[in-house]
Symmetry: C2
Subunit: 205 residues, 2 copies
């Protein structure tokens, strides 16, 4: 026997699992053998959950966050501030900002950031729909909350220019020394930005 | 919104994925969001592969290794030595021993080792079927290749006693200093066993 796996079913499962990010063939084998030890219903539930997620997922018609209906819970929530829109890269970032409990406005999920190396241009992102949302007039502030990388900055600038034709305030999340960081370990670009963008002591507490 | 996930489909997928060993909720979320970025066919294939593995897996009627039919490729291979049977704990160990390319006999998969703490007794393992296999007379040597732990030693001893009624040679894989190890880092129990079980220099190369 020169085959790597004793069963083609096992080989298939390992092949498919190892296509996931961070899952190598050893981990895929371990997970597959674990499935064999669990009750049969678990594999059924797992398989169905993954297929249903991909097949039936819906995206909010306004903010493009994923949701169960065609309008997400956040956009449907009338107690939130509909005049402020936070622009984020992906669904995960919506959850991250929500977890801070510091933002009561709505979101706009771009679906990525401009990255010529990865072949992602402005047309691949939900930028036109953001401009359209702003053009409708209800939005008074757009908060840019993208990664503080070259790609994030490029995307920020592109959006800023697109929105310059409209009477909307465009802000960007503060960059500065992380809370809990010792000053000597902060990089100088961040620290420099922290000093330039210093705020009134009264406002910072 | 006080929900942790924006979509119940996403929450289900995260719930089921995080039941896998070594997969926490953060990893499960990352994998779920990855699925959403991949083509829909991938999620279908992945789900089907996992369900098919658990639903349709077969075990060899002789050695209990997993296989596609009711007799595994190894047991069906007439060019292998059918008089030597290597006893291993699980399917993974068959693959591990096969990868050494040093064993041309057959296997017997116990499905675990005796472990009172985990509630696993001899009756939960394929020990009776091993004894039956030996009783049929074709097997002349049983090689015990279990983990070198307390549980492995207990299981080895239990099998040795069960087989003592039959004219079969029972051997155990050599324990000793790993190849590539420096002697000063070998633990003393292993080194002691290495010295006791020393072999003729001519045989070791």
């Amino acid at each position: 026997m020169n085959r790597a796996y004793p069963s083609t079913l096992l080989e298939n499962a390992v092949d498919e699992l190892s296509a996931l990010p961070g899952v190598g063939r050893k981990t895929a084998l371990r997970l597959s053998l674990y499935l064999l030890r669990r009750e049969p219903e678990y594999a059924e539930r797992l398989g169905t959950a993954l297929q249903a997620l991909r097949r039936d997922v819906k995206y909010c018609r306004t903010c493009h966050n994923i949701c169960d209906t065609d309008l997400c819970d956040i956009c449907a929530d009338t107690s939130r501030d509909h005049s402020t829109v936070c622009v984020v890269e992906n669904v995960k970032d919506v959850m991250t900002v929500e977890n801070t409990a510091q933002f009561r406005g709505l979101y706009h999920v771009l679906g990525g950031i401009i990255s010529p190396i990865d072949g992602i241009g402005p047309a691949d992102l939900e930028i036109d729909s953001l401009v359209k949302r702003v053009a409708e007039g209800e939005v008074r502030e757009v908060v840019l909350a993208l990664s503080t990388t070259m790609e994030g900055d490029t995307t920020n600038f592109f959006i800023y220019r697109k929105l310059s034709a409209y009477p909307v305030r465009v802000t960007v999340i503060a960059r500065g020394v992380s809370i809990g960081d010792e000053l000597e370990y902060a990089d100088e670009v961040t620290l420099g930005r922290s000093i330039l963008n210093r705020v009134e002591f009264n406002d910072a507490i």
